[in-house]
């Protein structure tokens, strides 16, 4: 076949199929599916708002997170008697402004989500690729290890890991990332195994593409959809688990304004000062809810095979 005939063939294809292609078109298609789901769009906007709040915390927060106002201990929110507009959501037991602590706390939650997801995603994808691509003994070995990790209730294993490593935010993130690992490995492996039998992979093999390129460039991009959905869902799980560890005293340590840790400090005032208990939980719940809404929308948009329900 000569150069010109290939060109002609390409031209014909061009004429037949004049749909826009490329990243922009893909994004447009994605958005048209995603925006069908109103909840998902709401979740997305809320999430963007949280990100902005976290980034600009210095400018938005009325006070510093650890600044103590000794003359305003456990002051209620401004709309209650005894409240003050200086502290919109009241103050905690040692006179720190609740609103400012919540605003700064968003940084920790997002940071935790990002680190945990990227760590478990990268390692999980590599392990899953290796397992699904090579099969055989290495596959059995990796999957057995993942089975062992999954045999423990996730929070319990994370708790024990933190007990070994010592309680801190970093160690809590490491523990949560390890606990979430198996889900990525399983998903990637399953996706890789179903792609492996397809013609384009066989074709690539036949023309002699090497293993690494085959794994990461040929196969992996076609396995991304379930992984992106899982990433969104595990982002919210990471925030919840980190808050739970903080609440148990095994995550971020006081005076860090992490939401779970704030709840732990507030526990003894549960019957006397409702606001120190209520607001950090509202912050966790709304953030996690927004991310889960987004995750549902992502699943609908990225996986048209799933029945829309």
């Amino acid at each position: 076949m000569t150069e010109t005939t290939i060109q002609e063939a390409a031209d014909i294809v061009q004429i037949v199929d004049d749909r826009p292609t490329g990243v922009r078109a893909q994004l447009a298609e994605f958005w048209s599916y995603f925006s069908e789901n109103r909840g998902a769009v709401m979740g997305l906007f809320f999430f963007i708002a949280v990100v902005l709040i976290a980034v600009f915390a210095n400018f938005i927060a009325p006070h510093l997170p650890n600044q103590q106002f000794r003359d305003a201990l456990l002051q209620p929110p401004f709309w209650q008697t005894g409240g003050d507009v200086k502290f919109l959501l009241g103050t905690d037991a040692i006179g720190r402004d609740m609103l400012s602590r919540l605003i700064y706390g968003s940084r920790y939650s997002l940071f935790i989500g990002c680190i945990v997801v990227s760590f478990s995603l990268v390692v999980g994808v590599i392990l899953g690729l290796v397992a699904g691509f090579f099969r055989g003994r290495i596959d059995t070995f990796i999957m057995r290890i993942m089975d062992v990790v999954l045999a423990f209730p996730s929070l319990l294993l994370a708790l024990v890991l933190v007990a070994i490593l010592g309680p801190s935010l970093i160690n809590a993130m490491i523990a949560i990332a390890i606990v979430q690992q198996p889900h990525y490995v399983r998903l990637t492996r399953a996706a890789v195994m179903s792609e492996m039998t397809k013609d384009y992979v066989v074709a690539a093999r036949v023309i002699g593409v090497r293993a690494l390129r085959l794994m990461f460039i040929t196969i992996l991009p076609n396995c991304m959809a379930p992984l992106i959905v899982q990433a969104a869902l595990s982002f919210s799980t990471a925030i919840l688990d980190a808050a739970a560890l903080g609440f148990l005293g095994m995550g971020a340590q006081p005076p860090t304004p992490e939401w779970g840790t704030m709840l732990a400090e507030a526990r003894e005032f549960i019957l006397s000062a409702w606001w120190v208990v209520t607001f950090p939980g509202v912050a966790i719940l709304t953030t996690v809810l927004a991310i889960n809404l987004m995750g549902d929308g992502l699943r609908d948009a990225l996986d048209p095979k799933l029945k829309r329900s």
């Binding site: 057995r144 045999a151 423990f152 209730p153 708790l159 007990a163 148990l248 549960i270 208990v277 939980g281």
Partner: protein, 336 residues
């Protein structure tokens, strides 16, 4: 079916050895050696240390030690608590009924509300009821349950004064445990008011623990039901002129329940994780609180034993669910 069981066991046995390995390695990853850990804050002399290291076999090669550990486990010895000096297994067995009762009650709440909610939502797809259930389920699924527990305490114990804040039963009542289930024991004791006291202690923790399973079950039932409702045999049943109740109740529900049962079984791990938080908030004297307390008391042999026992229970329940699944859905045991 027997082959299927063997196949499942072939997967679960290596996993169980892996779990014992994790429990074994756990105590050796802690700073200091096991004897120093047992001595606790007091510390001990050099000679006594060497003597004890030899006595417990900690001076032997690590593989020999692991073999020794497995032998212990086979004999039902899950270690001795450093703090109470009681066998870990005994403590576990004493506390387990409290967690079992709480989890069972939580699961009953979750199934009792989740199943019908998901079913009705599916049959009235797109209705206000459907939207409400799905929104509620997503909120429940996103709930930080430790905070949810605190909120319920504020409302029902603080403002309304209806329920107690902690424990399993009021101090006014005392009786020897027979089954370990407070609801049953309080009835057996014949003491007036004991049962209602036990119920009022149980209800809030059970709601808290049941929240996430409830949300998961509602979502799963709905989507399983939607899938089944579009199947040919449902259309056939409708075409035959069967009433909607018979179609949904008999033909659709039975098939929709298959994936739902799996999901219910898989919630056992979730329940244990939730029990850690729930029991801590409500001072519920069960396994979850015991694990957290043991970690804080640095009672590492209790943590080691508890970790292993909990993983074993989760694995056994998952195996049971797998078998049940194979039993009700022949497709599963004949494929793969």
């Amino acid at each position: 079916m027997f082959l299927y069981l063997l196949k499942k066991l072939g997967v679960i046995l290596p996993t169980f050895f892996g779990v014992t390995l994790v429990a074994f390695v756990f105590i050796r990853m802690l700073p200091g050696d096991p004897v120093l850990l047992m001595a606790g804050e007091r510390g001990m002399s050099e000679e006594r240390h060497t003597e004890l290291m030899a006595k417990f076999g900690f001076d032997k090669p690590i593989l020999v030690q692991y073999g020794y550990y497995l032998k212990q486990l086979a004999g039902g010895n899950f270690g001795t608590s450093i703090i109470t000096r009681k066998p870990v297994l005994d403590e576990f067995i004493t506390l387990f009924p409290a967690t079992a009762e709480l989890s069972l009650f939580a699961m009953i709440i979750a199934v009792f509300f989740g199943l019908p909610a998901g079913m009705i939502a599916a049959t009235r797809r797109g209705s206000t009821f459907d939207h409400t259930v799905m929104t509620g389920a997503l909120v429940g699924y996103s709930m930080p349950i430790f905070w949810w527990g605190l909120l319920l305490i504020i409302f029902f114990s603080g403002i309304l004064g209806w329920t107690p804040v902690s424990g399993r039963i009021s101090y006014l009542y005392y009786f020897e445990p027979v089954t370990g289930f407070m609801l049953i024991d309080s009835l057996l004791s014949g003491q007036e008011g004991a049962f209602s006291s036990a119920i009022s202690h149980l209800i809030l923790p059970a709601i808290v623990l049941g929240t996430i399973p409830l949300a998961v079950i509602a979502r799963q039932t709905r989507s399983a039901m939607l899938e089944v409702l579009s199947e040919d045999y449902v259309r056939t049943a409708r075409a035959k002129g069967l009433g909607p109740q018979r179609v949904i109740g008999l033909h659709a529900l039975r098939n929709a329940l298959i994936p739902v049962i799996t999901v219910i079984g898989l919630q056992v791990g979730v329940l244990f994780a939730g029990a850690i938080l729930t029991e801590t908030i409500f001072s519920w004297p069960g396994i979850g609180k015991w694990m957290v307390d043991s970690i804080f008391r640095r009672d590492y042999s209790a943590v080691q034993g508890g970790l292993l026992l909990i993983a074993a229970i989760v694995m056994l329940v998952n195996l049971a669910v797998d078998l049940l699944y194979g039993l009700i859905n022949p497709q599963i045991r004949h494929t793969d």
